[in-house]
């Protein structure tokens, strides 16, 4: 049985799995509506244990916040366990995308031309037992030292490369990071080499701490600290108070976290709600249980029976069908936009996709509705018509109703596809069907798990209509990703890809089209937009005669913009990509889908993590089983 | 004065199969007397083994149609229940088989296998049974029987194993020993020893023996009575001397002439040509006629009965006694014995 599970890489845009699906498109769903009752009308109250089932935790950094890059894990840290300088409301939609102070008293204005950020830390925030001391600015500075420590493998450490002295620290040339100073225990100052407008967003990411060095300092290998995590938020890992921190050697993994069984959280006795706000965290249940149950069907049976409250995994289509058809149950089914795009990529350096007309034809022919059906239909997301989800262009209306390849029912249009194909050199007889050898046996990468495998016949069928025959390789998620990222493999196209935001800005999508980011291995811009002849030579691949279009200049331009102008600039680039460069067929803005148990009295969606807003949930223990 | 142990009357054993009825034994009558050895001779498929397996109740009764009488000390064994038969087997009638290599269970010690026979019929302790087993081994001339009893069959030579089989068959002092080709699988030198052991024990224990063999030579020295079988029927019966000195039936004659004999002036082997008949489609008339060098008019139509030709010497053949004598002279290339 191929597992349908929340992937290891939910936040890794390149690796979106079935688990992280977003935006409600299906009847009666509630995109704007924040504090949703979970089906009961009981008032949300404190108490009870909130239980969540999942087939697999899927941590890719061993749950060490310094390296962990899984969206759901980010949700756990920021909702429940750790408090960063900045944070979010943990709610749905635009309100949930706004960055707020958390550990910091306020988000300061940058000084020195946007390169200096001085944060004041709140008093009275204490680490959970056994550390039991106040959180200081040094604990945050230490978090950045961890980011700069190679062996920790901070997967998104690149966001902090603009901090002065980070490079020297990484190379071992400096003992401290020159650009991070802590004048006193409640002040921390960051200096960046250039203005970084979205710096507060970056400080909301879990790798920025705070971490007590007396514990975390013992664990500087990738993923180790995950089993010793010391909380600063309302909850802590059960049993963390029993951790013997007299020395590194006496520490044994905290009992409440077994990576293959469960993660149990209990209230952190040192948490003072007065330092927090209920807008950010209500912290209603007395504890959380995250339970690994490898039987996906059983998880949803248990939710239905009231044995679990929630699941990390996507709701299977058959369950969604049953619930959405039942008025009494409908409200317990949630679909929320996850700010992510799933797409078919085409390799611009490989025939026949080196011809923009072929790429346009592919966009015209693709039956996006059928592709969405493979995912489970409208409940599982909105059909994508451009690169980044519209929510990443706040204040811009440029993409409202934008669909350059609009077809009836989004089912594809053969006539328009053939028209595009006729313009291509690969259609030598101009009949709208590719007849060149280049269109035969095109190497097409896909994943070997549901729902990806269900897309294969649809893609094969669609491409066949314009004369492109594909040789589909279906590999497990990891190997598919790795193979696509090796340029020498010369994969011509694929549907194993998806991309999500790290924080709400379109730049987090456009990095995929920056030719300067292309790597021979580990490449994530599979379409190779912006590839230069020099790079092609270096990677030992042929460079197409017509060249490869580049948007590097557009990216540089937009990066400097701020506010609505920034959104408009990115939106214009999105359009340019869709109409002139055409590297992708974006087909779905995937939803995060959730089924709630009968005991859930309050539930919200966290736009930041793309998962349940655990900080705002509540259960009625009397309805639990 | 003879003491008849076993009397078989008109025994028939037929096996119905998909291809027809196999008449494995088709009218056999004979007696075995105490202190005597009956030699039963015939080619494979002549029904000699089936006859005695039927006597022992060792054929599958479900798949065979058996008629006639098997009187053992006056009791008809064909009417005995399985349980009654079981008590007679091993206890009153012992049997040994052709291949000593496969006739003992390979995974049990020889002594234990003999003791098992004792325990099946006598209420004695295991220790006593083992002691008797050792004695039995000693009786059949196995050296160091105490050690041998603790060994497994594959550690025995062929001859030793057959001795052990004899020990097993005789350990309960049965009245009758059926030896089904006991020497066929053995070396020539060992053959004589085994026959000697059987003969000696027969005399010492005063039992009756049925010695089955495909060779007349084997039975020649130790039998008192001889029966020659062909295609499920006896075709010649008589005392040893009668059959050996004056065989009547051409088949018996053939068998005898194919035996190398030192007392013959000219060494000559005359095998019987042709192969044994199918038991489903037994040739009409005399079953031997297709192979018979002397066949004549009635042979392929009329079946000759077994008839006494004087002195209890009987055969089943259409030829006249004189003709047979002439054939004998020609075939055996010798004079009538002066006896």
């Amino acid at each position: 049985m191929r597992p349908r599970k929340k992937g290891t890489w939910a936040l890794l845009g390149a690796l979106v799995l079935a688990g992280s699906l977003g935006l409600a498109a299906c009847g009666g769903d509630d995109s704007g509506d924040s504090d949703t009752d979970g089906g009961g009308d009981t008032a949300a109250a404190k108490g009870g244990i909130y239980r969540v089932g999942t087939t697999d935790f899927g941590f890719n950094g061993g749950f060490d916040p310094s390296g962990e890059y899984l969206g759901w894990a980010w949700g756990l840290y920021s909702n429940l366990l750790t408090r960063q300088l900045t944070g979010y409301r943990h709610t749905e939609g635009a309100a949930g995308s706004e960055v707020l102070p958390d550990l910091a008293e306020a988000i300061p204005e940058a000084t020195d031309g946007g390169t200096t950020w001085t944060f004041k830390i709140k008093k009275g925030v204490k680490f959970a037992p056994p550390v039991n001391r106040e959180v200081t600015s040094k604990d945050i500075a230490y978090a950045f030292e961890r980011i700069g420590t190679g062996s920790v493998v901070a997967q998104y450490g690149f966001y902090y490369n603009d901090i002065v002295g980070m490079a020297e620290f990484k190379d071992g040339k400096a003992k401290t990071i020159a650009g991070i100073t802590t004048p006193d225990d409640s002040t921390i100052v960051f200096k960046t080499t250039k203005p970084v407008g979205d710096f507060p967003f970056r400080l909301a990411m879990p790798a920025t701490g705070p971490f007590p060095k007396e514990v975390a300092g013992c664990f500087t290998k990738a993923g180790e600290y995950g089993r010793y995590l010391i909380a600063s938020g309302p909850y802590m890992i059960k049993g963390s108070d029993a951790l013997d921190i007299t020395s590194c050697k006496t520490m044994k993994p905290i009992s409440g976290f077994n990576p293959t069984k469960q993660l149990s959280l209990v209230r952190n006795p040192n948490y003072d709600a007065a330092t927090d706000s209920t807008e950010r965290r209500e912290a209603l249940p007395d504890g959380f249980e995250f339970i690994i149950n490898t039987n996906d069907k059983d998880i949803f049976d248990k939710i239905e029976a009231g044995e679990y409250e929630d699941s990390v995994d996507a709701v299977p289509p058959d369950v969604a069908r049953r619930y959405s058809g039942d008025d009494a149950l409908k409200d317990r089914l949630k679909g929320n936009q996850d700010d992510r795009t799933n797409y078919i990529y085409m390799n611009l350096a490989e025939a026949p996709f080196d011809d923009v007309n072929v790429r346009k034809a592919v966009n015209w022919i693709m039956d996006k509705d059928a592709l969405r059906k493979a995912w489970g239909g409208p409940f599982y997301g909105e059909i994508a018509t451009h690169i980044a989800p519209a929510t990443l262009y706040p204040g811009s209306t440029a993409l409202d109703g934008y669909d350059p390849y609009a077809t009836e029912n989004s089912a594809g249009d053969l006539a328009k596809a053939q028209e595009a194909m006729k313009a291509s050199a690969y259609d030598t007889d101009k009949d709208g069907v590719c007849d060149a050898d280049a269109c035969k046996d095109v190497l097409f990468m896909n994943r070997s798990i549901d729902p990806y495998v269900k897309m294969t016949p649809i893609i094969r069928d669609a491409l066949g209509k314009i004369g492109i025959t594909v040789k589909v390789r279906e590999l497990p998620t990891g190997p598919a990703y790795e193979s696509s990222g090796v340029i020498a493999n010369r994969i011509q196209a694929g549907s194993n890809a998806g991309w999500g935001k790290d924080y709400p800005d379109a730049s987090t999508f456009m990095v995929l089209f920056d030719g300067r980011n292309i790597l021979p291995t580990g490449n994530s811009g599979y379409a190779l937009v912006g590839l230069t002849a020099a790079q092609a030579k270096e990677f030992k691949i042929d460079y197409p005669k017509g060249g490869v279009p580049s948007v590097d200049a557009d990216i540089d331009k937009c990066s400097e913009e701020v506010g609505n102008a920034r959104s408009d600039c990115w939106a214009a680039l999105d359009k340019k990509l869709m109409e002139e460069v055409v590297p992708w067929v974006p087909y779905l803005h995937v939803n995060n889908t959730t089924l709630l148990g009968p005991a859930v009295t309050k539930w919200d969606y966290d736009q930041f993590s793309g998962e349940a807003a655990y900080a705002h949930v509540a259960v009625d223990p009397s309805k639990q089983k | 004065m003879s003491d008849v142990l076993l009397e078989v009357r008109d025994l028939r054993v037929h096996f119905p199969t998909a291809d027809g009825v196999v008449k494995a034994v088709d009218g056999v009558s004979f007696t075995v007397e105490r202190g005597h050895t009956l030699g039963v001779v015939g080619e494979s498929g002549s029904g000699k083994s089936i006859t005695f397996l039927t006597v022992m109740g060792l054929i599958n009764r479900k798949s065979a149609i058996v008629s006639g009488e098997v009187l053992f000390e006056g009791r008809n064994l064909l009417e005995a229940t399985n349980d009654e038969l079981r008590h007679i087997r091993g206890d009153r009638i012992g049997m040994i088989f052709q291949d000593p290599m496969t006739s003992m269970h390979p995974m049990y010690r020889v002594g234990d296998q003999i003791a098992e026979a004792i325990l099946a019929h006598r209420s004695v302790s295991k220790g006593d049974a083992r002691a008797r087993a050792v004695e039995a081994l000693r009786l059949v001339g196995i050296p160091a029987p105490e050690q041998r009893a603790r060994q497994y069959p594959h550690e025995f030579s062929g001859g030793m194993r057959q001795r052990a089989m004899i020990a097993m068959a005789l350990v309960l002092d049965p009245d009758l020993l059926i030896a089904d080709e006991p020497t066929t699988a053995l070396d020539v030198t060992v053959q004589a020893q085994i026959l000697e052991v059987i003969d000696e024990l027969k005399q010492r224990l005063n039992i009756g023996v049925a010695l089955i063999s495909h060779s007349l030579a084997t039975v020649a020295d130790v039998s008192q009575d001889v029966m020659v079988m062909y295609a499920g029927r006896p075709i010649e019966q008589g005392t040893r001397d009668q059959v050996f000195t004056a065989p009547l039936h051409p088949y018996a004659l053939g068998l005898l002439s194919s035996v190398p004999r030192v007392d013959r002036r000219v060494e000559r082997l005359v095998p019987i040509e042709g192969s044994p008949p199918s038991l489903i489609h037994v040739p009409s008339g005399c079953a031997f006629h297709p192979r018979c060098p002397y066949r004549f008019a009635p042979c392929d139509t009329e079946r000759p009965d077994l008839r006494d030709r004087g002195g209890g010497h009987a055969d089943a053949c259409h030829l006249s006694v004189d003709q047979k004598a002439a054939n004998r002279r020609e075939r055996l290339d010798m004079q009538e014995p002066v006896a």
């Binding site: 059906k373 089912a411 495998v453 279906e474 590999l475 | -």
Partner: protein
């Protein structure tokens, strides 16, 4: 001949015959029903992308992509039969050759071949199947210098690779007992070469053993293909395979029973038929195995 009287074996032969016809006639079934094997019928999936069950036009219902299950089962017979027969053929070819050599030559060659067979048998076979299939599927070149592409050929190679040792062991054992027989001695004494003896004298005596064994290997290899396809390591999706169809059903077997039931029944009956045929052949050709 005993085989003719074996009613079950004869029935199996008839079934296999029908299956072969089904496999050949698959395009005909597609034409009659008007449903191509890879044709997608939007109407046959609902709003949630879940397949619809049997109806007048789709007798066995549709799969998750809206394809006709009946038509795909007919095409799937091809894969099962081809893999079953070809992989077995390759395995038998390798197994017989190596078994003959090992049994006849003995010594170092025998040790080498026998030990290789032992090692292959102690390999975690699916691991290597996964390794090979994944490795060959991840780049444009395929693997083994581009000679092998994922798909039917690779599946056959993997299966043959893991089933020859069984054949080799059987053949080697049989050769060992034949090697010292008179007729071999005789031809050796008249100066026949090793190859002549191996292939002209010994091989003909092994024919019945090989036929029996091959006939029993076929159903195993059909199942093997189904297992590989079930685990997503088999033929590409455009080639319908029963194992893959069952695999597609594995997540939704409770709401789309037809997707699990029908391919499974065909797979079961096919394997059963080949097993019965093999048993029948063994009974007929191997007089010792009278059971």
């Amino acid at each position: 001949m005993r085989f003719r009287r074996d009613r079950w074996a004869m029935a199996s032969l008839v079934f296999i015959g029908l299956l072969v016809i089904l496999a050949f006639a698959a395009p005909l079934i597609a034409t009659i029903s008007g449903h191509g094997p890879n044709e997608l019928f939007r109407d046959m999936t609902d709003d949630f992308g879940l397949p619809k069950g049997p109806n007048g036009s789709f007798w066995f219902g549709a799969d998750g992509s809206g394809r006709d299950v009946l038509v795909r089962i007919a095409y799937g017979a091809r894969v099962s039969l081809i893999v079953g027969v070809v992989a077995t053929g390759v395995a038998v070819l390798i197994g017989v050759t190596l078994g003959l050599i090992a049994g006849y030559r003995g010594g170092v060659i025998d040790t080498l071949i026998s030990r290789t067979a032992d090692i292959v048998l102690s390999l975690p076979l699916l691991l290597f199947a996964i390794g090979i299939v994944t490795a060959c599927g991840s780049s444009r070149e395929g693997c083994f210098g581009g000679t092998v592409q994922p798909g039917l050929t690779l599946v056959i190679i993997v299966i043959a690779l893991f089933s020859w040792p069984y054949v080799a062991k059987i053949v080697r054992g049989a050769v060992l007992s034949l090697r010292e027989r008179e007729f071999v001695e005789a031809s050796r004494s008249v100066g026949a070469g090793d190859l002549t003896i191996m292939f002209r004298e010994i091989l003909p005596n092994l024919v019945s053993v090989i036929i029996v064994y091959a006939s029993l290997l076929v159903p195993q290899n059909i199942l093997f293909e189904a297992y590989l396809s079930f685990l997503g390591l088999g033929v590409p999706d455009s080639t319908p395979s029963w194992g893959r169809m069952i695999s597609d059903a594995s997540d939704i077997f409770d709401v789309a029973w037809w997707l699990m039931l029908f391919p499974g029944i065909f797979l079961l009956l096919t394997v059963l038929a080949f097993n019965l045929l093999g048993d029948g052949l063994r009974d007929a050709l191997d007089p010792k195995a009278d059971r």
